[in-house]
């Protein structure tokens, strides 16, 4: 929804949040999540705003809200309601109002150090207690600065300064975050500074209602928090689709000629585009896929991208559409060629008319209103499209992976027989029981995969660790490489052993990068092998339809299973007796490096 993109019309959001919520609740396929908010000040409106931002991301939250300022008691002593709530996410909304002992001018260094440790220990105890009790992800606010400085500028550097104290306390939080899985910092220090600390700290709202920030600032806080949560559940955007003229450079390459474009360090109008190109190049290094969608002759587009003043080059992009097609058609084509849903794209174009067309025709695509060139970076950045929570080495290589895929497509065109093509790829797969080093990637994959996903069950890292430690599961991952490159971990199957000789497949996912490579058959062969080792006789498969997983509607039929039931929603149950199973894969060499 456009009104839920940065920058916000706060007045509109406050007035219309109920109507917005009703409308968003109609969206199909919402993901249910339980979110506990443990507050050190009033949280009601934070919850309301969080709800609409999450709904907009396809997540339907159910909330537990602690009584006013009972975050500590709830965490340390617990209460029945919270215990039964079984949260997926615990958000601890504390602020500088919840720091008990600030330093005083009379304190010596040692005293201040111990005050600092006391504050920190109180929070660490909260996190540890919550981790013991719940299998949940914790999101903790850092602290915003106070709106006054008793020591003036020295408040920042002197150990007696509150500013200094908050800075050091925040650093301790970060140290904990850096060594702890499933724990994230909600950076209200940054959000309050972007918003303006004096406005943020409007004391009217504290004294009247015990809100630790002014109410009109709450959408910014809740949006920032929603971005962390949607990232955890794999709802990040994945690719940028960029216009060229007046978006990546000033001027129109077809009319003005390459030599007359504004791009490069010499003039202000060239600098602003160069900075934007640099920002995009950084995004690429984080695994965001760059593509072009421009109304241009192809040669002109390439010439513009080779302008010596710019920093983005044609080979920084995976797909370049420079033609005269409507932009929504180009986006559909890019989506098909990348095998990525267009709802994971961010479309960037200076022309409001083009933006409107794309918004109208492409469901779920993000189209920021980027305003003027000097605002492009801020508006794209503050929308948090690519919020990083779990960053895997796969992300760093993603552009290479897509590039390798483009090469495979070219090679495929040279073979008449598809199997010959597959053999020519000289594929090697590693298929084994879960290993610790891959758990993060496995969890990430379970949250990101939508299309090749039979049950669309989502697993947090904590869930995956639990399964990894349990004997009642057969859990395998698959890695695939070929002559063009290594795809990394691209498939996961989790089966639950029940009644001694039954295996129920809870999860079967595969990345769309490796569609039609027979990897699913290699996985099946290994699954059956493992099942036999555990004396399994029958494997049960489940297919639950969603808006996105039609491609695997007949998956278990292809694997030779027998359909045993189907309800009116299309949920299907299959079974397979594995006594006489015959291996199906004959194009991938499977390496197994099990420690038995």
């Amino acid at each position: 929804m456009n009104e839920l993109q940065y920058p916000f019309n706060v007045e509109y959001l406050i007035k219309n949040k109920k109507r917005i919520k009703k409308e968003l609740l109609l969206k199909p396929g919402l993901l249910d999540k339980n979110i506990a908010i443990l507050g050190g000040s009033t949280t009601s409106e934070i919850k309301n705003m969080l709800e609409i931002f999450l709904l907009n991301y396809g997540i339907k939250p159910k909330f537990y809200e602690s009584e006013y300022n009972k975050f500590y008691e709830d965490a340390i002593y617990g209460n029945e309601e919270l215990d039964n709530f079984n949260p997926d996410i615990i958000y601890i909304h504390t602020t500088n109002r919840n720091i008990i002992n600030y330093p005083s001018m009379y304190d010596d260094e040692e005293t201040i150090e111990s005050k600092l440790n006391d504050e920190y220990q109180r929070f660490e105890l909260i996190w540890k207690k919550l981790k013991e009790k719940f299998n949940a992800t914790i999101i903790q606010n850092n602290f915003e600065y106070l709106y006054y400085r008793l020591l003036g500028n020295k408040d920042a550097s002197d150990i007696h300064g509150n500013t200094n104290f908050i800075t050091r306390l925040n650093q301790k939080f970060y140290d904990y975050a850096n060594k702890t899985n499933n724990f994230f910092i909600n950076d209200i220090n940054y959000v309050s500074s972007c918003y303006g600390l004096d406005k943020w700290s409007n004391q009217f709202y504290w004294h009247m209602y015990k809100y630790a920030m002014e109410v009109p600032a709450i959408p910014y806080l809740s949006f920032n928090l929603a971005n962390i949560i949607k990232s955890i559940y794999g709802k990040n955007k994945k690719a940028l689709v960029l216009d060229l003229d007046n978006t990546l450079w000033g001027g129109i390459v077809g009319d003005d000629g390459v030599d007359n474009l504004s791009i490069g360090p010499e003039v202000p109008s060239g600098q602003v585009y160069l900075e934007f190109q640099k920002y995009l190049k950084y995004q690429k290094s984080l695994g965001i896929i760059l593509n072009v969608n421009s109304k241009n002759e192809y040669e002109n587009a390439i010439a513009g991208l080779n302008h010596p003043g710019g920093i983005l080059r044609p080979d920084d992009f995976i797909i370049i559409k420079a033609n005269w097609n409507p932009k929504n058609i180009n986006i559909k084509d890019i989506s098909e060629e990348l095998n990525l849903g267009a709802d994971s794209f961010v479309f960037v174009d200076d022309n409001p008319a083009e933006r409107q067309i794309v918004k109208n025709y492409i469901d779920g695509i993000a189209v920021p209103d980027i305003n003027v060139p000097e605002d492009y970076i801020r508006i794209i950045d503050h929308n948090g499209y690519f919020e990083i929570t779990n960053f895997s080495s796969e992300d760093l290589q993603k552009n290479d992976l897509y590039k390798d895929n483009a090469k495979r497509s070219q090679m495929m065109a040279t073979f008449d027989n598809y199997e010959d093509y597959l053999i020519s790829l000289k594929m090697k797969a590693e298929i084994s029981t879960f290993k610790n080093i891959y758990l993060e990637r496995i969890s990430q994959l379970s949250n990101k995969s939508n299309q090749f996903n039979l049950t669309t069950k989502r697993y947090s890292l904590a869930d995956i660790q639990k399964i990894n430690d349990s004997d009642s599961y057969i859990k395998i991952y698959g890695k695939l490489e070929d002559i063009f490159g290594d795809n990394g971990v691209i498939s996961v199957v989790i089966g639950n052993i029940k009644n001694k000789n039954e295996l129920h497949i809870d999860l079967w996912i595969m990345s769309c990068r490796v569609l039609k490579r027979n990897m699913e058959f290699a996985m099946m062969d290994k699954l059956v092998e493992k099942a036999k080792e555990k004396n399994i006789k029958t494997i049960y498969g489940y297919y639950y339809p969603t808006l996105k997983n039609k491609m695997v509607n007949n998956f278990y039929d292809l694997q030779g299973f027998e359909l045993i039931s189907e309800d009116e929603d299309g949920n299907k149950i299959y079974k397979l007796e594995i006594d006489n199973y015959v291996n199906k894969n004959n194009v991938i060499e499977v390496i197994s490096d099990e420690e038995r």
Partner: protein, 79 residues
């Protein structure tokens, strides 16, 4: 701005905030007359009214105003 016009705009804000098109506010309307008007919604209402009329209430006013009539008097004195 005429009082009538203020009431008209105010009424729209109330309807938006409480998502209820049947609301008609008068001078004597208080929080007892509108079901969802609790202390938590009160603050959203105040913020929305401030934004609608581009003015601010101070703490003293918010704590002492007794009904919509008094609220409108403050708005008139401010714009």
């Amino acid at each position: 701005m005429k009082k009538d016009e203020i009431y008209e705009r105010l009424n729209k804000v109330f309807r938006d905030i409480f998502d209820d098109d049947s609301i008609v506010v008068t001078e004597s309307t208080t929080s007892n007359d509108i079901e969802d008007w609790d202390s938590l919604e009160h603050i959203n209402l105040i913020v929305a009214i401030e934004q609608e009329f581009n003015m601010k209430f101070n703490m003293n006013e918010v704590t002492t105003m007794k009904n919509v009539g008094e609220m409108v008097d403050i708005i008139i004195s401010r714009i």
